[in-house]
Subunit: 456 residues, 2 copies
């Protein structure tokens, strides 16, 4: 990168906020996936929307790739700067600009971290519900349309974004949406940028919908003889009209690994982890009785439930650390996380398919699902130099995507396309849709400088 | 229109499905608004997505305007063929293609009418929740991102669309989305077309999210001394965490008119009409007690509530007929319906502003609001040749839009831009956003044949 560009970046962002050090470049070269790292040429920490705008004007003029960076917690290579160039790390832009308490809304800068924001919001009795597990940045969550264990009740990030500030490739600053929950004025630009993975513009601010922190909470676990039976129970739980605020499926291996890193001592068998919120303790009890009855119908051998925050928190802390526990459990291994999602009626078939395929391929790992949404992650671990395992893991991913698409589902429920799902875009959406997406990309980013190499 | 084009249209859609009769053209020249009618040159009733595709190929080649037509129930001139050309009436495309009962989803053709679809779905215990009042077509609801009295709980149409089939300007058939409730794969084309008012493509099929018909229902009415106090009660009802499935505000004039056309005999004063669903009768009673307590805090003089479907249905049937009752009440008059929406915290200020402005302008009409969403309709009636009233009505509309935008709201919560809100687009969204919308329009419809003259 030419010295004059670097000098201009320093002029815009300030002396300490531009780095070409090996350590900084290395830190911004990989996410939580096993996709190959790639170093950016320079890392910049902008301090405002205006600085982002000036940096993009520069990048636009000199056709330099620019990739946004939140917390680096994505799982499909989404922020890896595969064409080098500039990484814009939003860490400094982490201010909470306004809490619209009475409207259950908050306006924040894109770099604020999900958990930090929710910690701050708890004093207002409010929280941002999509829970990706990782302490992702809000900008990253919007860019990836992230989701998680609470999406079954509260929706994905997409369902909870009202307005955005976005810097376009040419540096122009765009504002989309409004704070009105009802909006029918013009094209839905807010949702065009949500899930666009930094390829159409860089999100610098957002207004989000919040939810009141529930007061009456219960947690429940149900153990089943097979994942197939557990998946069928999920289908019936959802079909009964129950509205769990979380409904997670873990297979036997996942539970075994969870037990090694926690003191939960769960029975080592396929298990559903559930949470319910309700208006009263009484209605919680009624719900839990129905949940237990449905689970018994699918040979549930162990049903436990408890009321209150403590039981709930213990369960979800463990669940959120499962991925890290898995990484520790398979030292020296690399991994692949699949992310298919299907309509809930097709979930038992998807789970059965995965459960039968996994042992055939001789891969270690486990099935974990945001079951209430029909979303299934199969995570497999293998030594990076084991070519058979590498091939088998790719085959597993491909087979699961094929199956999910055949079942009216999607190749990615929440991790985004990034690098890992590009090859399935035409299969999933058809030539016409992908052509239109490419045209939109070209319209908004004619020099292909925004996170190039992703989605397409 | 050249005879060869008409002949080609007949070849595509069949003999009885192409008309140039005065009556058919007249019927497709106006919606429910008072925007000036404009005759199309020809009306075509296509029978399939393929026929729509062939018609658009023809129109694209000869640069003929094409405007989609559902039920003609929109309120902002959205389907008026102001550039003439072809109106495509989707009435024949009214099939329910698949009920995905276990997934709470339905796939339909765009021409099916909302009420007909819900009548059919009731046998499955399911319904499509966005309730626009009118018996709109599903295609029209999606094109306008329609909403209504149940949006406060279930969201607008946008929140309940999973997948679309869309015919593009050049006749290509596009499929967007999937039946998975979680989708993070590529750009969100589904929501780009939702609310695009037929200007980017013509929606021919849709897969919708449904909700289970609630079993425990209550209805309540609360009477207040002023609309301002009623609006404050709304703000506190929502802020308390209650989740009404409907929360409507009617002013004194609206109630008076409602009484002339129903046997409800409501007290002639500002009134909230509410509905609640709950898991049990017991929790309904608890909720209603809280609702009453909040209303009493704002000098509610008359609170009535009843459990069960009958009380509920009587209320909403009357509410849905209010507009027609108003039209009958002001014979020979034309009308203007405003449609601004603001964050709920700003609703009391918006309502107070409207209530003070209306009498100053010497206009007859009433305030009606989907209050739980912050959406306010002021409907005024006046003789079409009364120039002062025409000017004052336009002034009222403009003042309300200015006020709503100043309060972080929108010029249109649910009626869309159509003809009536074009002038406010830049004010609401800014030059950058409107330029981007125009670029997207040009990308998808380079010859400007799709519903030309709308939005911009």
């Amino acid at each position: 990168m030419h010295q004059s560009i670097l000098k201009a970046l320093v002029e815009i962002a300030g002396e300490g906020n531009v780095s070409q050090s090996e350590a900084d470049r290395e830190q911004h070269s990989r996410d939580q996936s096993a996709h190959a790292a790639h170093l950016p040429e320079v890392v910049v920490w902008p301090g405002s929307t205006e600085e982002v705008s000036r940096i993009l004007q520069l990048a636009y003029e000199y056709k330099i790739p620019v990739t946004g960076w939140g917390a680096g917690s994505s799982l499909e290579g989404n922020p890896i700067p595969v064409h080098g160039g500039i990484v814009l790390d939003f860490r400094r832009m982490n201010r909470i600009l306004a809490v619209h308490e009475a409207d259950f809304q908050v306006t924040v800068e894109a770099g604020v971290l999900y958990k930090d924001m929710n910690r701050y919001l708890s004093r207002f009795g409010l929280f941002f519900a999509p829970d990706p597990g990782a302490n992702a940045s809000i900008g990253g969550m919007i860019a990836n349309n992230a989701a998680g264990i609470r999406t079954v009740k509260y929706g994905a990030t997409r369902d909870n974004v009202l307005a955005l500030t976005v810097v376009l490739a040419n540096g122009r600053i765009l504002r989309t949406g409004s704070r009105s929950v009802k909006q029918s004025s013009g094209y839905d630009l807010t949702h065009l940028f949500t899930g666009s993975e930094g390829t159409l513009g860089l999100i610098t601010e957002a207004t989000l919908k919040l939810a009141p922190i529930p007061t009456h909470i219960s947690a429940a676990t149900a153990v089943f003889p097979t994942v197939q039976k557990a998946a069928k129970a999920v289908f019936h739980l959802i079909g009964s009209g129950l509205q769990p605020s979380a409904l997670e499926l873990l297979d036997k291996s996942s539970i075994r690994i969870l037990n090694t890193s926690t003191d939960l001592n769960l029975p080592e068998a396929p298990t559903l982890l559930m949470e319910f919120n309700s208006a009263t303790t009484e209605s919680l009890r009624t719900e839990l009785a129905l949940v237990e009855e449905i689970c018994q119908g699918f040979e549930c051998s162990n049903f436990q439930s408890g009321l209150g925050m403590k039981a709930r928190n213990q369960l979800w802390t463990a669940r959120h650390h499962l991925f890290e526990a898995m990484v520790r459990y398979f030292p020296g291994c690399t991994w692949l996380v699949t992310d298919v999602a299907v309509p809930i009626s097709q979930y038992p078939e998807l789970v059965a398919f995965a459960a039968e395929l996994l042992p055939k391929l001789n891969l270690d790992g486990g099935l974990v699902g945001h079951a209430g949404d029909g979303n299934l992650h199969v995570t497999v671990f293998y030594p990076p130099d084991d070519q058979t395992a590498v091939t088998n893991a790719a085959y597993l991913n491909e087979q699961l995507v094929n199956k999910a698409i055949a079942l009216d589902g999607t190749s990615t429920g929440e991790h985004g396309v990034g690098l890992g799902k590009k090859q399935f875009m035409v299969q999933e959406h058809g030539e016409t849709a992908v052509t239109l997406m490419r045209q939109i990309k070209h319209l908004l980013d004619p020099h292909n400088i925004l996170n190039p190499g992703k989605i397409f």
